[in-house]
Symmetry: D2
């Protein structure tokens, strides 16, 4: 991208940010995890980062938040890197057409989750990592540090404990998959890792940095190594597009037209291959558990920039 | 695209065509519609057409076949053009996670089909066109003639009659939607139009021509008019990506990485925005009713060309 | 039963009738069939008939009404009489756990309806009768005349026409079963017979007479012939108990404890084997489409008489 | 019943037992609980007991086995006795139409199990007893001792441990209900009690004795007290009839025509109100997890005796 295009980004981002900030901030903060409900619902931040590593931040773009399900892209990436296409024997790549924590499809699909971004699929990925790693929690964090050039990213034990105290449906889900034989390790160990993964905290700035490896074909991590093959990165982007927003994935693809992933902490990461990543954060969620302002911001952004992958 | 790139297309297409032709031709021809089962299962054709309107055909690329569900993109385009975003009140844009002719979701979704490419959604689009047009069958054909610069495209009455003789599930589907109030016209009239739409016959050459309007932002039809706004065209591409291949849509996005649409006649259209359209035809289907060789060809094609939207 | 017991019936019936009549008459009259919505919602009748053919009527017990789904017991009886246990190859005897007109289970059960009292099952029974009879409509009516000693029972063509005008979901259902191959005849012929069966009109007096053949092991029809074997009659009673009230069958068994069958016209027939039949009619329905006052009356009746099959 | 009838029972039981014993013993022993798979599959016992407490045993009628789900009738009875009709706020009385361990319906029913005999419903009953009792395990056993006049009935810790080692689906189920708020206590405590209940061991002789309280209106326990009101006992019988055999309940009602309950240990208890109880045990199960020979025996028995409740 040329400099002119990049300058446009700055003005467009600020303009949309101002417009949305002036509107009513509707929706509910995720309250099923006690710790998450403590967040300040007025927070609103955006950070765009180009593959030339130029960045444009606005609002609370340097404030850390719980990235929650956004982490599932990172754990999938690590598992894909380590285990290659074998992972697809145990998890699909199809949109589910159901809410993220539904148990219904698992029953008819005999324990093979539809995709790695619904909770069930992410648990199976966690199980793979536990089986392969000496210490999955440590190695996952190291992976994030390498791809983000940032060792200040960490789990939040407070969020882990909070999830554990109310995570009955996730406990149900993990034991249910285990009953079909698609979890190898002890469910409580898998859940512990899963809750840790979801508890990762980043700012929009960090998040946009951390996802560059999926945008830039020439990306090298802090050890100067390629993270995924070009084909693998493309495929993860494809899954983000079809499955990244639960049962609102089609809507996001339709309105925004970029691969992306949301989390119930109110964060969204989206990316334009070979161009940029963009992270948005606003804690109030719509009824499908995606950030209201985040969705709105990104729809306006791709409309204004006329840049989508379609 | 430059000339060099285009020359590459020619060699890559021929190469992949040769490789696949030499392999076993597995899968079943669609046999639930008697007329479709009469097709020669060894047929295999490909045609790529760039936005500069250069074309590369191989095999049976000029042989007409029944495009079946591929038509649903065209009827959606016409309805979107005429009625704008009002159409989304009556049909969604979410992947269904279920087979194309499933009635289950309709029951829980109160008669609002998940997307316009499952049978239920296409029927609702047909219903809209009937309500708006003086003669929907005539106007739909005229629309196709205008966007393809080709008035040799027509319905196959033999296929229509064949579908009518066995179309119990589609009759069920249409009456079921009617029972929820999401069909305005008489179900038999809607079904007649629906079966006509699906009976359209084109060759790969014609198909690749007919879909250029979704690829090229500057496309003008035979009356020198823009067909859809840029935003509308992008959005239809987005729906093709998330919903174009029934419950194998995620797989297609994952492996091929292009918006596309398949039909049980064995045809597939795919397109790379701002670059090209590509039509493949081979009648033998996999178990999810998509052309075996078509899927295989396109996966190899985007792998070889390293061109996908991701 | 001795005379004393019978005298008790009279007082108990009158007493409960009086109590319920004095209470608010809540619920909605079936309004999805236009003709049914014309009924006077204040109608309320009861008739008990012992196997010694003593009868006790109260209220509107001689007023005819549309017996609707209650007819499904009669068509099942005729098919069972003619075809014997072969009928169970095409329809089950399990409660469905779903509303009466659901299409969901049919999809997972491959077109074999769970039981003969949901709409789908009754249509399959109709299809069997059409295949076997020269003129199913005539022969079904003759069967009813024989078992009820009453040739004043007839179809209501007004109700048939009214159902036809709005019966989209039933049309869907019948075509859906046909698509699985479990309907042999033309769906429109099956639906015509099905709607006729449901349009039968009887009074509580007639209804209680008509069902004596399922209560009395020694019952002979007007031609002095046994209608069903004892075992067959018991089995039909068993199905009424488990499946007679849609997804409220367990509730009826729990509260009333008798085999029975309801119809959306507000009628209920119940019976105590070897003792009596009892018909109740009140058009206002609860949310599961069973007569409110009918359910209430029968619960009080078996509580007061301390007579249930359990 | 008179003596002659009782003598008939003896001959009929012996006759059917002989016939079935001479036939192939097909089906699989429950193998998902390791401990249960150790049972001798050739075991076959029957015991009928009249309300006059005459008993007729044949085969392995005095050999103890794991009664498994049959216990759910006893825990329901205790909860009903203690808490009365309040229990129906948290569990229904409808047949589920689904396998015993399905999670699907719970999701659509918001955590209210369809009936107390599917696993989910039995867990909710366990939760109620834990909340009410000082020591639910002790009090439940005392209840059984009182109604069976037999303090030699006990839990099998080996079976409990065996279930715990593989009970992932039940763990899933309990946590799933908890996530809907319909479990008050800690899921692990509820599961511990639930697995204990299912581990109870009795012989056919003991089982037939233990269920007399549901048959005999005048039954008094070992402390000379009535266990349930007549109405409560009738209602439990009604639920057994509609829900006692998982998704084969309709079939059992149809073929046998008695209230009953099966367990995956191969036991079945059935009863004829005011007449008798009958326990059958044979470990080989049909595909719906009910004892093959048990079902066969009882069908023959009610056919031969011409005694069913219908």
């Amino acid at each position: 991208m040329d400099t002119e295009e990049n300058m446009d980004f700055k003005y467009i981002i600020e303009d949309i940010y101002k417009t949305i900030s002036s509107q009513e901030n509707s929706g509910q903060v995720a309250n099923y995890i006690p710790e998450l409900s403590l967040v300040d619902p007025s927070k609103f931040g955006v950070c765009l980062r180009t593959i030339e590593n130029q960045k444009y931040g606005v609002g609370d773009w340097e404030h850390k938040f719980s990235i929650q399900s956004i982490s599932k892209v990172l754990s999938l990436s690590l598992a894909y890197k380590i285990l290659g296409d074998d992972i697809w024997d145990r998890v699909g790549v199809e949109p589910s057409g159901n809410p993220f924590n539904s148990l219904i499809q698992l029953e008819t699909d005999n324990g093979i989750p539809r995709n790695p971004f619904i909770n069930a699929g992410a648990m199976v990925i966690c199980d793979m990592l536990i089986s392969h790693c000496k210490n999955a929690k440590v190695e996952f964090l190291e992976f994030i540090h390498r791809i983000s050039f940032n060792d200040q990213i960490n789990y939040s034990e407070a969020v882990v404990q909070s999830e554990l105290s109310v995570g009955y449906r996730n406990i149900a889900l993990c034991n249910f998959i285990k009953s079909f034989g698609n979890i190898d390790n002890d469910p409580s160990e898998v859940l512990d890792f899963y809750f840790h993964i979801c508890s990762i905290e980043m700012s929009c700035s960090e998040l946009s940095q951390c996802f560059l490896f999926l945008t830039d074909n020439n990306f090298k991590d802090s050890e100067n190594k390629k993270v995924l093959t070009t084909s693998q990165a493309k495929r993860i982007n494809a899954i983000m597009l079809t499955c990244g927003f639960y049962d609102e994935s089609g809507e996001f693809s339709f309105k925004v037209g970029l691969p992306g992933k949301s989390g119930v902490g109110g964060g969204i990461i989206a990316l334009h291959p070979n161009k940029y990543t963009i992270a948005v954060w606003s804690p109030r969620l719509n009824e499908r558990f995606n950030s209201n302002r985040g969705m709105q911001f990104l729809e306006s952004f791709t409309t204004e920039t006329k840049l989508s992958i379609f």
